[in-house]
Symmetry: C2
Subunit: 385 residues, 2 copies
């Protein structure tokens, strides 16, 4: 086997979850998904498709009607985007991997902003790239910020690709439109592609005109070296469906079609029908999801802030409370102890980058906010031991 693959780190999140496997008494907040099923109207669209017998191969780039619907949805949020810039993928992570395959040769330099979901840094390593990380910095109070000077200094003409996820998993950090403009301008000069993971754009709690976080699509043109990754998972409660999409320059789309053919060939028609239903009901589904998540966030964060030794800021976007626990050691060890001793399942900060050692990630997407209250009580009792 390849050294690059042998050396890939196993997910430390899964390592903690495995430690709690089969224990029904654990309150689990480790994974990035809600405990709520996909809305019935969306599931029904897939059921109808299956009953019609839509079990054949589909277009590599996705059903034309779904590409059109995604283009219309994206255009409504970010200004005109043609369906010729859209490809449907088997999940957001698949979209990211396809983009990295399209852009990164072995030996190429890739810059990533961390802490970040570990998949984003693993993918360029699979392609044999050299990875350079620029770390966000935690501020007093628990919010994380970007040193723009440091990021721009790291991106040079030898940088093939910048990978940035904002709103950020796990920190909740987001880019401003001004920062996106600065990054774009710099990358135009260096000839660097931007891979923007914006799957949390709709889970944004600041007031905005379009109901979502700033996007690189707001500031870039269609010919910019920009690929934006989106997913149905978070905004439509569709994690398990494996359905996402890419927005890219129009000239790239036919090549992406080839990569989809050689990776998965296509996404199931019945899954795409569910995606179509989700978009048709976006105005009913997503605002409810976001309002509920805001309630969750605003339930959890003040309770955490009230605990001794906990430092946490309310995330501007995403679905995580990312907090520092003073006086504790290795995050992974702490997370495992929390499972074993408190029945509380959290993700260790160092799963997302070394700079997040000492931090823990709590996914607050909980159908019943009382679960969050109960979880904090468990943490509080454990801290008091």
């Amino acid at each position: 086997m390849r050294h690059a693959v042998l050396n890939l780190e196993e997910s430390r999140i899964r390592e903690v979850a495995n430690a709690g496997m089969g224990r029904s008494d654990v309150l689990a907040f480790w994974f990035g998904e809600s405990d709520e099923s996909t809305p019935e109207v969306v599931r029904q669209a897939a059921v109808d498709s299956l009953e019609r017998g839509e079990t054949f191969y589909a277009h590599n780039l996705g059903l034309p009607e779904l590409r059109d619907a995604v283009a219309a949805y994206t255009s409504r949020l970010h200004g005109p985007v043609g369906a010729d810039r859209i490809a449907i993928t088997s999940g957001g992570v698949n979209a990211l991997m396809l983009a990295v395959q399209a852009l990164v040769d072995a030996g190429d330099e890739v810059v990533a902003v961390t802490p970040v979901w570990p998949n984003l840094t693993a993918q360029p390593c699979i392609m044999g790239a050299r990875l350079r990380c620029v770390a966000l910095r935690p501020q007093a109070g628990g919010a994380w910020t970007l040193d723009m000077g440091e990021l721009l200094a790291a991106i040079t003409p030898t940088t093939r690709l910048l990978i940035v996820n904002a709103p950020n998993n796990p920190t909740g950090w987001t880019l401003t439109a001004g920062e996106q403009q600065q990054i774009l301008k710099h990358c135009r000069r260096t000839g660097t592609w931007i891979l923007a993971d914006e799957v949390y754009e709709r889970l944004y709690y600041e007031p905005t005109a379009n109901g979502c976080a700033p996007s690189f699509l707001d500031v870039a043109g269609p010919e910019d070296l920009l690929v934006v990754v989106q997913s149905f998972s978070k905004s439509f409660l569709m994690t398990g469906w494996r359905l996402g999409w890419l927005v890219m320059p129009p000239d790239m789309t036919q090549h992406m079609g080839k990569l989809i053919e050689f990776n998965t060939s296509c996404t199931s028609v019945f899954t795409q029908r569910a995606g179509l239903a989700a978009l048709q009901h976006a105005d009913q589904i997503t605002p409810c999801v976001v309002a509920h998540l805001k309630t969750c966030r605003d339930t959890l964060v003040p309770l955490l802030q009230a605990l001794p030794g906990v430092e946490v800021a309310p995330a501007r976007g995403g679905m995580y409370a990312f907090f520092r626990l003073a006086g504790q050691g290795d995050s992974l060890a702490v997370a495992k102890r929390l499972v074993a001793e408190a029945g509380l399942g959290l993700a260790p900060g160092n799963a997302f980058g070394d700079e997040a050692q000492g931090w823990l990630r709590w996914c607050f997407a909980s159908r019943d906010p009382q679960r969050l209250v109960d979880g904090v009580q468990r943490l509080k009792s454990w801290l008091a031991l």
Copy 2:
């Protein structure tokens, strides 16, 4: 974008299909799928799962119960294979890509036996490998055979991976158990991995004890450098579901789990439930599929053989009639003319390798064999023009 990706050839099969797009009068035999929907019992399992709300992330390697069922199914056909050697994937092509990601570094030498489904040769190119093809040779009468000496001479200690698809798409050529043993013995000496695409193993028309074509699993041990790719697509009429699996050495499995996490994370639970139902009903579904395909083959091939200038042998395995048409030029041009002038949709031979220039592939998986008869009539009339 990467040159390796820009240079990937678009599918010539799709190029022909696109030429007939929107024409309902074309009899299409270009793609490798039946025109029959997935059996109702399989679709119902997915519907039930969706109605239960199984819309969450699943294990990277697949549902434990599906891995167990796949291991039992494989063991029944090929002797003991543990579930610790199985990973569930998002289709056979995804399984192939994951295996190539696990095994092939940029610059590595890969040997492939051609003509073959173009995805198999594209995947190592995406990973930056150097590809070397060993061509099967057509014999008088239309059957293709392997020159074993030539293949073994091509595999040296610098060969990282051998890719072989048998029963072969498009030629119907299959490996004998003796040939598999020779290849395995040679690859043990050179330290070369074998990636065996055996998705057509059940579509085999020669009498055998286990009802399938010879498999490398019959001759290799669990620690051999062997990865076998399987799919639900062909044996269970499940092309559009994107569900397959890998059989690999046990030490490889955890690493494959990481690659699945970073490529697609998992396969939808409801899709896996359908796979489980398919395996539970394998003894009802697959023999019917195979018996029907044999009828289709035995309907089509004699009719083709009776045409002037056509050379074709009945495939021992697979679902294709691969035939040479004397006195015609470029396969792609011929296939396009057949669509335009005869309303007949076939795949051009040179889509599968230069050595198959002048040949055409006819997928005989047709619910109604009369469609095949009608198709031959169109070909006959066109040839008489």
